[in-house]
Symmetry: none
DNA sequence: TTCATGGTTCGATGATACCCGAAGCATTGA
DNA sequence: TCAATGCTTCGGGTATCATCGAACCATGAA
């Protein structure tokens, strides 16, 4: 009888698109509810529940009950590392997905990633700042230029206050869903908060969608234009 | 549209037991033919061919034509590393396979591994020698004792001749299919040859099965008993 | 208690794909 | 040229499993 680690089981568990989406969503380190994960994977809650129990059965997830909610998170660091390794290998082989992902296009347009803006608009924001030399440096390691500081102050962001925080001000987020960089860190958080404070956008309850009003949409385009 | 590394595709490719068996067999670093891999996975060549093209399509394998044969090997080091990581994770979650593997129980009983005996009998052989202090050392690094040399000489094996070869005489093989150690190296080869020479066993054509005759079976048990 | 919400379980459906028999190429040797 | 070997392709049978509707539990609020 052949014995040994059952990588086939592990592979098949990871190998379902819905489950893979959930796992990658959980790579944020955050614990998410079944409903959130279902939305993330673009499936119904029943289906998600089935997937979650499989993932838990394989030891990839841990579950924490808290009141009426059940929070799911990756079991430990090792799981995240293996997923990371798989993503690296997939990327190096040019295995990119296209049609999977959340059904709701709003999620792809603008959503919250931790506490900053992700999705198309998140990428646009970063590109715009970089194209106009308000940022300097590389995609992964960058900083505000003087012009950048002025620009953000005009927008009503207290850059100096951000710099007093412990968190890095400028931090790139190579979000799993995009291969493009977008802005994270203290500045990323401040920008999203400011958009909401200005009434440009609001968080849609019970989802990760950021909904821009028509006026806010226009203002965003004005402040963060891109060449193409 | 979500884009990013498609770990689901990668997972599903690895996630089939037959393909996983092939991949693990290739982790030896050796290039194997389609027929060998089919036998390793316990499936027919046609099916194996289909699997191999999928693995190659996913960039996990590379193929080398040589005459009438086609040798398959892991594409590169990265693939092996990811597989290793998966095996580690699976092991840490207690995900061990039990019922998979070659369908033919004869293959599990006694088969050739490169050029030495593997399977249940291979493990039994090693255990027996170790229990009776004919071997000294650890599971991975061991040597013959004087008693061991005498024992093998009685069996008709020219130990001194083996020692004149370049290959190590004693070498453990932590075969991928067994977590138990069995005997490889020049001595492993010599033992298998001797079993065949003595008429205890013979290689079944076109497979890796080693078939022991009833008489050979009994002689093997006599020479290599185990306590349990 | 009653209602509402978050999740799970059950059953049925449909699609995916694993598998092998048979036939078809390709290469080598006689 | 013929035969043998190694491998791939094709076609169909079968089984697994993802999916969702509906019903069922559990927790918390009114």
């Amino acid at each position: 009888m052949k014995e040994g680690p059952d990588i086939a089981l592990l592979g098949s568990v990871i190998g379902d698109p819905a489950r893979a989406n959930m796992l990658i969503a959980l790579m944020s380190g955050k614990a998410l509810t079944a409903t959130e994960l279902a939305s993330e994977a673009g499936i119904t809650v029943q289906t998600a529940s089935s997937h979650l129990s499989k993932l838990e059965g394989a030891g990839l997830l841990q579950q924490r009950k808290q009141g009426r909610h059940r929070y799911f998170a990756l079991a430990d660091e090792d799981v995240a590392e293996v997923l990371e390794a798989l993503m690296g290998l997939a990327a190096s082989r040019g295995l990119m997905r296209t049609r999977t992902g959340p059904k709701d296009p709003a999620l792809r347009r603008a959503r919250v990633c931790y506490n900053h803006l992700a999705g198309d608009l998140g990428v646009q924001l970063f590109d715009s700042l970089q194209q106009r030399r308000l940022l300097t440096g590389t995609e992964t390691d960058f900083a505000l230029t003087d012009a950048g500081r002025d620009f953000l102050e005009d927008l009503g962001i207290d850059v100096e206050a951000l710099e007093r925080e412990r968190r890095p001000v400028c931090k790139s987020c190579l979000d799993w869903s995009e291969r493009r960089t977008h802005m994270a860190g203290a500045l990323g958080t401040a920008l999203l908060d400011r958009f909401i404070g200005l009434g440009w956008a609001e968080r849609v309850p019970k989802s990760r969608i950021i909904s821009f009003s028509p006026k806010g949409q226009k203002a965003f385009e004005t402040h963060f234009p891109t060449v193409n």
